[in-house]
Point group: C2
Amino acid sequence: MFMKKSVTYKILNSLVLSSLMLALTMTNANAASKSFISTTDKQQLEQLTATAANSDLSYEIVESLTTEVGARMIGTEADKRAIKWAVDKMNALGFDKVWTEEVTHYQWIRGDVKAQILAPFPHRVEAIALGESVGTGEQAIKAEVVHFKTLDDLKAAKSNSLTGKIAFVSYRMERHIAGKGYGKAVGARVTGAQVAAEKGALAFVMRSVGTDNNRLGHTGVTRYKDGVKRIPAVALSNPDADLLVNQFSRNKPVEFSLKVTAMRNESVQVKGANVIGEITGSELPDEIVALGAHLDSWDVGTGAIDDGLGVAMVMAATAHIAKLEQRPKRTIRVILFAGEEVGLIGAKQYVIDHKDELSKHVIAVEWDFGLGKIYSMQANVSDAAKPAIAELASYVAPLGVGFNAANKARGQSDMGAVTDLGVPAMNFAPDGSRYFDVHHTDNDTLDKVSPEDLQQNTSVYTIFAYFAAQADVKFRN
Amino acid sequence: MFMKKSVTYKILNSLVLSSLMLALTMTNANAASKSFISTTDKQQLEQLTATAANSDLSYEIVESLTTEVGARMIGTEADKRAIKWAVDKMNALGFDKVWTEEVTHYQWIRGDVKAQILAPFPHRVEAIALGESVGTGEQAIKAEVVHFKTLDDLKAAKSNSLTGKIAFVSYRMERHIAGKGYGKAVGARVTGAQVAAEKGALAFVMRSVGTDNNRLGHTGVTRYKDGVKRIPAVALSNPDADLLVNQFSRNKPVEFSLKVTAMRNESVQVKGANVIGEITGSELPDEIVALGAHLDSWDVGTGAIDDGLGVAMVMAATAHIAKLEQRPKRTIRVILFAGEEVGLIGAKQYVIDHKDELSKHVIAVEWDFGLGKIYSMQANVSDAAKPAIAELASYVAPLGVGFNAANKARGQSDMGAVTDLGVPAMNFAPDGSRYFDVHHTDNDTLDKVSPEDLQQNTSVYTIFAYFAAQADVKFRN
């Protein structure tokens, strides 16, 4: 509906498709005795693969979500619209059952940030409140800034050494295909405010956790500690963090003004919902292949990358399978989690609500790592199921997906809470080099979605979901 | 001071330098009779070339301007600080004379923009006031939006067809090495508001004139027409323009809310200044080689690219020459123009103030085309001087600068006003492919400056300035 594919792209798709058909045939011919799905299943998988490789459905879904809903932080009107949108969309796509499960959280309102360097040279700077930060009230904080290169340096500061001051951590996240720089950088975002407050700081300012050079701050949740004063916490865009660092190079006192009108209203409860849809298994309806993504987003951007395209992929993969003449043996369940951004609260609610049913979740996968082609897959399954995973790997290999046989996968984000409780896990890793350019910023918009990459991603998820629902194997130990 | 060059880069510089020395030697040996500068001059040029190729001075200057001043729109306190900064810097760099010449303009205050799509699906959108736009006042305009794909489509709309509505032009600028997409796109920015107002529109909204996909609008001046109502004019970021276009694809009325607190105070005069510095010619002090850039910037970003690096290049080139034991024959004049962004008002004042002296401007060049390596040069000089320009071309060829012998150059931006009055022109063209990613946005910051490119640019300007000040030729017809 919204896509016009180029001829070149169609040819590429045909080539990939031919390789995939060949892989299916070869597995069929050479290793028939070891296959975990039947010859008929393989024909179905060929058909599904062709469907996914020529479908724009996942792009249409993320276009719909970002255009008709947009940013959808838990507790906002837009989140309510997103829930309705998801229910309607899954029904329209032919799911057998669609329902919602309530999730609650306290209210947080972003408000605005006005940040300025006052001395040695005055500048307006771009800053964004960290998620769930408290505000300053209407009165700006004006104070000297103390510069720390890392969170560890801040931790090493003496008690009370920051009394009456603003703490600034300038550590810059490094780019990495697997997003490994995030782990090293995000600690300051999560705990920087509490560490700074323990030393007496009035506010916490950090360089955004992001790999871009745009004047857009990266938000993301910060955590307070009981018994420690809650201080406002903001992230500067990378160019603004550079500018602040350059102020220090003049060896004069650096002063800052910060006004944050965010409100953290812990006494006000807001409601969200996990939205769940299924196509019911034809032979083993109580055995569940779980496909996850999160429906909520931060209140910046339109949540195209985080996690609109995950929502689109798991919906589209299931919809492709729903179009087959027959339902696969097991149930395929799509779980669109609520409130991932504010602390996986939908996932935490899900494992409570489905406690007695988790043993029937035969395998689980999420997509919450943004844009880019999948280049690697890894499972975490029983020894008996390892050859089945190898067979699956042969089906997705023509799409450029390598096989990591380590068998130590954990579900991504929300689904981690599910697989930590013993549910077998599958993890597909995309090229995440560019993910943290847009992650948690106003730049998380539809134009960042590559239709080609998304089609590959959706093809992989379609093949996985069908295979997992049909394979004659116990994934669980 | 601020740069740490890599070993690789130093080696590259050495290679370029060797080629350049060879070019100088060859010209010397094979075409001595045709050379427009002496053997001693060539030795000086070799020395200058080596100096520029190993100097970080231009980067240090743009770092200083963006860190110690930042955004500096005419009429602001920061513009006053920029003028003082420029005078101090040229004095510190050893210029022989430094002075300012007053320029006046009316006051414009940006204020804030709050823009929202109200229907069919509500979204907050990123918009920026076009330069010198009027505001809406405190009461937002809420109205239906009418979509035009181009300015021509808007022009073709019937009289009064936009009464009570907001006009939206969605034309997207194309990327081009010479920035040719700008000319096709900028018409809507300059005249869109007046055309829309003539059809009865309440406000004018356009897609930014820019090639990026960031949620940052591109500002730039808009013009009103006498006798036509002045309506607020804003530019959406590219992703927001996409979003608005996608709203129209639902075939439902699109409604918009726009609040712009900009103020255009034509009765309030503000003052700026052209800042001028010279190194005085040793033999022909009244003959002027003019190097221009503009000191002002928009009130977004820190004006690193537009035109901080131009300021840095012309200052550094002249400073390198000022370090020679002897002044060149002609005077080298650096002109840092005021108020370029609001309509070349510094340049217009300069040609008035220096009317009687323009015949003594032997050649003029500006740098106001941002970031990127220079790949081509073209002059506009007398027939007699064409071989001298060819000789100059041989000196900059090792730096990757091609020679366009068309001899039809016009000065860039401000200097166009000077060369239009008969002053011979030189134009150096950089790769402008990425310039309009940051042009007139908050993203115009120091991190966008490539030290390597800037060093090449400065080397070219240093060679040009010395050669032009020394060459035994009449550039003027």
